[in-house]
């Protein structure tokens, strides 16, 4: 049996026991996921739920993203922080229906770096928040999105 299935079965039996005892919440909330931040429809609300309102602009956050994306469904973004003690990085797409795209929490052993593909509904600021030394910092970059043609 593969390990994913084993993990799922272990969880399922724990879950069954827990639910029977009325002790546990559904499976999905066993792993941390900031519902308020991800559910926020305005960037300001997402930042508030993240505790990042008033994050100071910083040149210590690097964002590499194309100036113009040929397709908004897949926009590659590469972010990193050279701020000492960076423990997390969040990526927000300002104009998306739900701006918060992801939050990456770095434990001892991981570098504050991530490259990923995000969806951009339209031309938008991509805002990055970094948590470092007990404070929050921010940087942003505009990515334009155009409509392509029908070929390729």
């Amino acid at each position: 049996m593969n390990s994913a299935r084993r993990i799922l079965l272990q969880r399922a039996s724990l879950l069954a026991a827990g639910l029977a005892a009325g002790l546990l919440r559904p499976l999905a909330s066993l792993a941390a996921w900031n519902k308020d931040a991800f559910g926020a429809k305005a960037s300001a609300d997402a930042l508030k739920a993240l505790g990042a309102t008033g994050a100071a602009p910083s040149a210590g956050i690097a964002i590499e993203a194309p100036d113009i994306a040929e397709n908004g469904a897949v926009v590659p973004i590469e972010v990193s922080s050279n701020l000492p003690g960076t423990t997390a990085i969040a990526v927000l797409v300002e104009k998306n229906p739900f701006p918060l795209a992801g939050k990456f929490n770095f434990a001892e052993g991981a570098l504050p770096y991530v490259k990923l593909n995000v969806k951009l509904g339209e031309t938008s600021e991509v805002r990055v928040i970094a948590w470092a030394g007990g404070k929050t910092f921010a940087a942003s970059k505009e990515v334009k999105v155009t409509i392509g043609g029908c070929g390729g």
Binding site: A4, A28, A32, A101, N105, G109, Y113, V114, L116
Partner: protein
């Protein structure tokens, strides 16, 4: 429904180990209409966990704004050849998948 293929590859960079992971997942936003004209329900990976030699080094929280069939690149401090990288995901329906690889 069994999760689609997932693969990770870890190679050594300059002072770090670069981990690349490819996942198969629709990452549905809940805003897209399917072939039957109805909205396809929200279905996306919410968490991705990266472990190095059994220890959690990175926890990611994701939204449905991450592109379909996600590809991530992470960087780990140090990491030697043969070290075990294990990556797993959990989606909003409680489905999971995982994969592992040795650092090359």
């Amino acid at each position: 429904m069994a999760a689609g293929p997932m693969k990770t590859r870890a190679t050594q960079g300059a002072g770090f180990t670069e981990v690349r992971v490819l996942m198969t997942h629709p990452m549905e936003t809940g805003l897209r209409k399917g072939p039957d004209g109805k909205l396809v329900p929200l279905h996306f990976i919410q968490n991705v966990t990266v472990k190095l030699n059994g220890k959690v080094v990175l926890e990611s929280e994701l939204s449905q704004a991450v592109s379909r069939n996600p590809v991530f690149t992470f960087r780990l401090k140090g990491g030697a050849k043969g070290d075990k990288i294990e990556i797993s995901w959990l989606d909003n329906k409680g489905e999971t998948n995982s994969t592992e690889a040795a650092v090359a």
